[in-house]
């Protein structure tokens, strides 16, 4: 179970607004987070990952307190080690596909498995600049999975994939997430994109 109760002021075109989220995510579940543009969906993911600090809040993951502003507990992103797929993929231009995965894990068998899962076997020695948009997005997902994370945060992670590829990937992804015991939160704008993937959803709005 992942329990979140956070509040953070964010700047919008209307001025300062308040992002407040209070929600429990069951363990091993896949939840879609949706809401209008600029509502703070990415901010919410970054708060969970420890990349942003809310003004007030509590975050417990499977019984461990990662954040408690009242008690001044705030785990670093390094300690939280969530899998995070960034909207801009955040791939390292200096590293090949294989080097990306090696940066995340020292397990060669897992690397081979992930390359296969993402249909990236033949691109292992390509750098991001020589990959298509869809391949880059897959690499970002594989890199996050390489951590075998307890918590996977996906920010618009299927947007560059064609329907056929997405459906294959979603099926494989679901089984590997189950195997790793990962709880997943995905931000998405399009209902169709996350069809057959998500089991539940959470709407985020600004106050």
């Amino acid at each position: 179970m992942i329990e979140v109760k956070v509040s953070k002021k964010i700047k919008t075109y209307k001025g300062i607004s308040n992002l407040t989220v209070e929600h429990s995510f069951p363990q091993f579940s896949i939840t879609k987070v949706f809401g209008p543009s600029g509502a703070g969906k990415t901010t919410f993911l970054k708060i969970i990952a420890g990349l942003l600090k809310p003004e007030t809040g509590v975050l417990t993951v499977n019984g461990q307190t990662w954040l408690n502003t009242a008690e001044k507990i705030n785990w670093s992103p390094q300690e939280r080690r969530v899998g995070f797929v960034f909207q801009d993929y955040a791939l390292f231009p200096n590293m090949t596909v294989l080097q990306h995965l090696k940066y995340a894990t020292a397990d060669p068998a897992l690397i081979q498995r992930l390359l296969h899962l993402g249909q990236m076997d033949s691109f292992a020695d390509h750098r991001p600049a020589h990959l298509s948009g869809g391949q880059q997005q897959r690499l970002a997902i594989l890199r996050a999975l390489a951590l075998k994370p307890k918590l996977l945060l996906l920010d618009e992670a299927f947007s560059a994939l064609d329907d056929e590829l997405r459906e294959t990937l979603i099926a494989d992804l679901k089984s590997i997430l189950k195997e790793f015991g990962t709880t997943t939160i995905i931000v998405s704008h399009h209902a169709k994109e996350t069809e057959n993937f998500v089991e539940r959803s959470l709407k985020i709005e600004l106050e």
Binding site: S76, Q78, R81, F84, F86, A90, N94, A104, R143
Partner: protein, 223 residues
């Protein structure tokens, strides 16, 4: 032709560049993070050598390091170090003079890297230091090279600062640019030609190498 001034110039440029790589990169990183008033002022001071007439900078450094001044006196008393009319003094002056040439390209390149690169690395459990060496630095390689070369070439061409603080002591502070001036002053145009040609050739080769190395980067070769 007496080669000592050329060697002195190359030695000075190499040492200055090395020192600036060591201290400049961390400072550039610090400056590339969120800005504050302290950083703005600090950066303005570091950038001053870019716009200040070299003789002004040299004059102030001369006053600062003079054994009659408090800092110069302290250095002499406690470290037996005199920074006026010595090679060590030239190194210190060159580091100050060339600072912006190292800092500016590196800082700007680091600031232009998407924040998500470092963030992705942090979520993968990597420390700030490891992220810096394995993700950030490798991705600003061309700017790093440009900064190194500009610093080296700029130090090689130094004149005003060097003359003010070092004078033209044979084999100690008489670097190539001063040797050229000195030769012309003494009507030895042949010698001035030789030094000038060597400096021209060295800098030309360096610039060509940078252009070759950076030919595939999206910006101009000196960005």
């Amino acid at each position: 032709m007496e080669w000592t001034p050329i060697w002195l110039s190359l030695k000075l440029a190499a040492i200055t560049t090395f020192i600036l790589l060591i201290i400049g990169i961390p400072i550039a990183y610090w400056l590339s993070r969120r800005s504050s008033w302290v950083k703005v002022i600090f950066e303005a001071i570091l950038t001053m050598p870019l716009v200040l007439p070299p003789s002004v900078l040299g004059f102030y450094l001369l006053l600062t390091f003079s054994p009659n001044g408090p800092i110069g006196k302290w250095l002499l008393e406690y470290f037996n170090l005199s920074l006026v009319f010595s090679f060590e003094g030239l190194v210190v002056a060159s580091v100050v003079y060339s600072f912006p040439f190292m800092i500016s390209p590196v800082k700007s390149a680091l600031a232009h890297l998407p924040a998500s690169l470092a963030e992705a690395s942090y979520t993968m459990g990597k420390s700030k230091l490891e992220t810096f060496y394995r993700v950030l630095l490798p991705n600003i390689k061309s700017s790093l090279l440009t900064a190194t070369v500009l610093t080296f070439a700029h130090t090689l061409g130094e004149f005003g600062v060097v003359l003010m603080i070092g004078g033209k002591l044979e084999g100690v502070t008489k670097v190539a640019s001063i040797a050229i001036y000195d030769a012309v002053d003494n009507n030895q145009y042949g010698q001035a030609h030789q030094y000038s040609l060597v400096l021209f050739a060295i800098t030309f080769v360096i610039v060509v190498l940078v252009f070759v190395f950076n030919r595939n980067s999206s910006g101009g070769p000196l960005e």
